[in-house]
Amino acid sequence: MAGSNKISNTPPRWLLAELTYACPLQCPYCANPVDYAKYQTELSTEDWKRVLTQARKMGAVQLGFSGGEPLTRKDLPELVKHARDLGYYSNLITSGYGLTEEKIIQLKEAGLDHIQVSIQASTQELNDHIAGTTSFQHKKEVAHLVKKHGYPMVLCVVIHRENIHQMAQILEMAEELGADYLELANTQYYGWAHANRDLLLPTKEQFEQAEQIAQAYKEKVAGKMKIYYVVPDFYEDRPKACMNGWGTTFLTIAPDGVALPCHSARELPGLDCPNIKDYSIEEIWNESKAFNLFRGLEWMKEPCRSCDEKEKDFGGCRCQAYLLTGDMYNADPVCSKSPDHAVIQQAIDSAAKNALAADEKPLIFRNSKNSRLLS
């Protein structure tokens, strides 16, 4: 394989196992690639077990079972059991759709540590609209059952223009459902969210108001419910330290076995991401071109190269640089030092204009038909 074996590599700590792209929901900000429909093959149970074993041996310890909807995989309990035997801390990242009490007990017995349930809004009407599926009541029942069976529960709500006005009600709902953690994830604009950005991106005033409400609530529920607030980077003037640095901590395996330094990296051109069917996790992590491309600081162009903050944010997000400037080696344009920073304001203006337009365009929901249209 191309690239050099750098002995200074830190081992992966976090393994995201995207078991499938299949999902009964159609959220228009889905983090899966917009062209997911063309990836039809899924890894076998044995392939997944080998991946888990190899990554664990290197030092991975946090494991996310994700998707799509991971519950659509019939072998999930078997994989959970294998993960527990290896000593992983297993997180199930689910829409809750299709999760029964029987399954919750079965997964607990297999050794699942935590369940993260997503809810799209605080009202049935909006939740079911955004999810593209009638699911609100079921999700609330699932949340109760998760707590009943002694799991720690994270409730995850993706925040965008359609639900940001419900911030106070979302916080109350999370407390009422007994969530141990509430993740308020402001939409990150990749994949489907990038395609729907004009309809999802709130104004700065909306962001600030919602954040104030969330911060005040944080104090109210201190010691009872932790609130994780994922910042909306379009309204920051420095980029996020994406993935804690490329190839330092995170390893994603896509449903077809492609190994990615982050779950969006499939969008980047010419990355030649290796497949676990062809290489071991150790070869992929240490030697592949894809995992070495943005490792360290050598790849940087100006203004990152001479920037005194480069070790803090690693130049931001490569996918965002590519999506918004066309060059994945550029500084993340969220940074006010980026020569392309104006594209952020243009995106904000475009979304605001669309919000006021009489003929606001419709959301593109995440489903196979739209995926084929967009690819």
């Binding site: 290197m58 310890v61 801390y89 997180n91 993260q116 002694g150 141990d180 010691g223």
Partner: protein, 90 residues
């Protein structure tokens, strides 16, 4: 919220304390996160099994490491642990 010296201290059922061979240290695992522990923190938490109170943990560790005067350090760490939700008292 402070540690009650009379009540037994138990490691949280919503967290997991685990030895990591690759890192050669104990870590605390919880939903989507982890904390690496130094040796003394790990020794304290290993004794938080719901059967010992603060004084019992202190005397056990003083005996184990043949030393004395650990009360302040252990008590300060347990306050941090309680605040982070790593330990519980009924």
């Amino acid at each position: 919220m402070t540690v009650n010296p009379d009540k037994p201290i138990k490691f949280s059922s919503l967290h997991r304390l685990q030895w990591e061979e690759a890192q050669q240290k104990y870590i605390i695992l919880y939903p989507e996160g982890m904390v690496e522990l130094n040796q003394s923190s790990a020794e304290i938490l290993k004794l938080c099994d719901g059967s010992r109170n603060l004084a019992q943990i202190v005397s056990e560790l003083e005996l184990k490491f043949a030393t004395s005067g650990l009360t302040n350090d252990i008590s300060a760490f347990l306050e941090v642990a309680l605040k982070n939700g790593w330990i519980q008292q009924n």
